[in-house]
Subunit: 349 residues, 2 copies
């Protein structure tokens, strides 16, 4: 396919891995990246190696409490050039997202690798792209059910503007919801979809604090708002209490609404849970999708999809994100606009 | 989605199950079915129950050696009303496919549930739809690699005529190739895809003789041409020799070219095999897709997809076929024409 020019909003763990993964893909080129401190743009293609190595390490524990651009938590914070500005390709700015939008006529797809501490944060970013007349792909790796409805409310705007929005295109929802949609094909009724994930995050912990914070919102006694207010020290204390291993059940994960939206089963038939170990890179449990249903010839059976334990969270989030991005760009170029979940698209490669 | 009017060419095992499965789907209506003896058309919707029960049982062992319309081998052959003509909705005809084509302006999608004993049989059927100016979906459940190239040669014709052709949309290729495409998302390079199937066909054997004949072509010492010439008695003798259990390795299955076409791996990296037991309904082995690759962060791992042993071949062929048909109709209505493999589409539900 024709070259795809990609912007990455947020250079935290997910944004950084998206940039790195794109160096393996011949069909796409990262041309813009930003965090809360600055923006790097080169329409001939960013030097991803320089950008990543210049901004790696020396991680800040400070948070300025402003989640509006994010990404900064995982990149270099010391010296005069904070965050992405440590790269020689970047310049400081107070308005990083507006600066990317200003370049968006030459951008095919935007990866929203931003945290979603407020439910409507990603939808509001999308509004800004609509207002600026952006035509192309927006993609996120969101995990929260209620955001899907907010995006659906904007579907008409996306359609009239030529935007193809793919929501929840990471691991779960994302590749695992897609696998559930495939596994459902043997059946005429689907009784249950169980998504169970294992993540070992020892070496990737510092790069994925935002994700851990989002996960903590799913623990008993916490929600999005209380998790957002936690200091890093409080998060460490929660992790210590659990000896580094956090188990989650009945998570509000968008898999449920995305499977219902695709007509595969009721949202109530979907359960999502998993185990996160921040002190080991070994997965504490095997990531598995289990789909139980009844065939047209009356048999009840269970189909399963398993990710190998050696695949990292990063590989399972960013691989699908980039794959769905490719499919979305093809759709967009075919004039297909609106909001799509991973249950409606098979990712490209 | 808007109602989809469906024609089924061939009322052998696959065609009959497609008709039956559509009774579970609110979005589509079978309006035409044919076999070599006749055609049934009702643009308001066929009475599928009547058609299936009128033509069930009393299976013929005769073959007239003419595979040009097929389907007849699995339906009633006795009395004056052979094949589909046993249904009160059907009329005899010498030209069943042309008769369906004559109705095709009111048809959205055509399921080609025909055998492919000659490599170019399905492609030549497609040519006839092109010549008649058909606009809509053509879908097959073919299993042979070299047919994909023949269809690709026709891609420009399909595109200029408004035809969306989905090839290999059954179990394998089909849902299992789609699963391989999803499983590949964790990786940046895919070293191997191994598709291994188990089929237990005791109660479905009579309905699936065409499929068994196609499988025998993959045994050592046989090919498409020699399998085509076998009498039913010779096929029985081969089955007896193997005590009813046939094991296949290194099959020429279109999964390989379809995965290469999607850029996932070289065709040579794909192996397909399986075990067919015609004397038991229990699967002799669990159908499994195994995808081994290397992640962007350098780990080698294996992802797997398994179909529950209680799912029948019919459920795993026809469920995906109908699912891919739904997706193809949506594509067609969006003006996306040409040839697509199951690695490029996530099936609908």
């Amino acid at each position: 396919m024709d070259e795809t020019k990609i912007a990455v909003l947020g250079t935290g763990g997910i944004g950084r891995r998206t940039l790195e993964l794109m160096t393996h893909k011949s069909w796409g080129t990262p041309v813009a990246a930003c965090d809360r401190y600055g923006i790097a743009v080169d329409h001939d293609g960013l030097d991803v190696d320089e950008l990543l190595s210049a901004t790696e390490g020396n991680l800040a524990s400070e948070r300025d409490g402003d989640p509006s651009t994010d990404g900064g938590v995982a990149v270099k914070q010391s010296g005069p050039d904070k965050g992405v500005v440590a790269s020689e390709q970047a310049v400081p700015t107070e308005t990083p997202i507006d600066d990317v939008i200003a370049e968006s006529e030459a951008i095919d797809a935007v990866v929203l690798a931003l945290p979603n501490l407020e439910h409507d944060f990603i939808p509001r970013i999308a509004d800004r792209f609509v207002a600026a007349g952006f035509e192309g792909v927006l993609i996120d790796v969101l995990k929260r059910s209620r955001v899907i409805g907010m995006l659906d409310e904007r579907a008409a705007d996306f359609e009239s503007n030529g935007i193809t929005f793919v929501c929840g295109a990471g691991a779960t929802p994302g590749v695992l919801t897609g696998a559930a949609a495939l596994a459902a094909q043997s059946f005429v009724t689907v009784e249950s979809v169980d998504i169970w994930w294992g993540v070992g995050l020892k070496s990737g912990y510092a790069d994925n604090r935002g994700t851990v914070r989002e996960d903590i919102a799913h623990l008993d006694g916490y929600d999005i708002e209380t998790a957002r207010e936690l200091s890093d020290e409080e998060i460490e204390a929660i992790i210590d209490e659990h000896d580094g291993v956090l188990e989650f059940t009945d998570m509000e994960h968008a898999d449920d609404v995305l499977l219902e939206r695709a007509g595969i089963c009721d949202a109530e038939a979907v359960t999502v849970g998993g185990i996160l170990d921040v002190r080991s890179d070994e997965k504490p449990t095997t990531t598995t999708v289990t789909v139980t249903g009844t065939t047209f010839d009356g048999e009840q059976a269970t189909n399963t999809f398993e990710l190998g334990d050696a695949t990292s969270m990063a590989a399972n989030v960013n691989g699908p994100a980039v794959g769905y991005l490719k499919t979305a760009v093809q759709r967009n170029r075919n004039g297909i606009y609106g909001v799509f979940g991973p249950t409606e698209l098979l990712p490209g490669f």
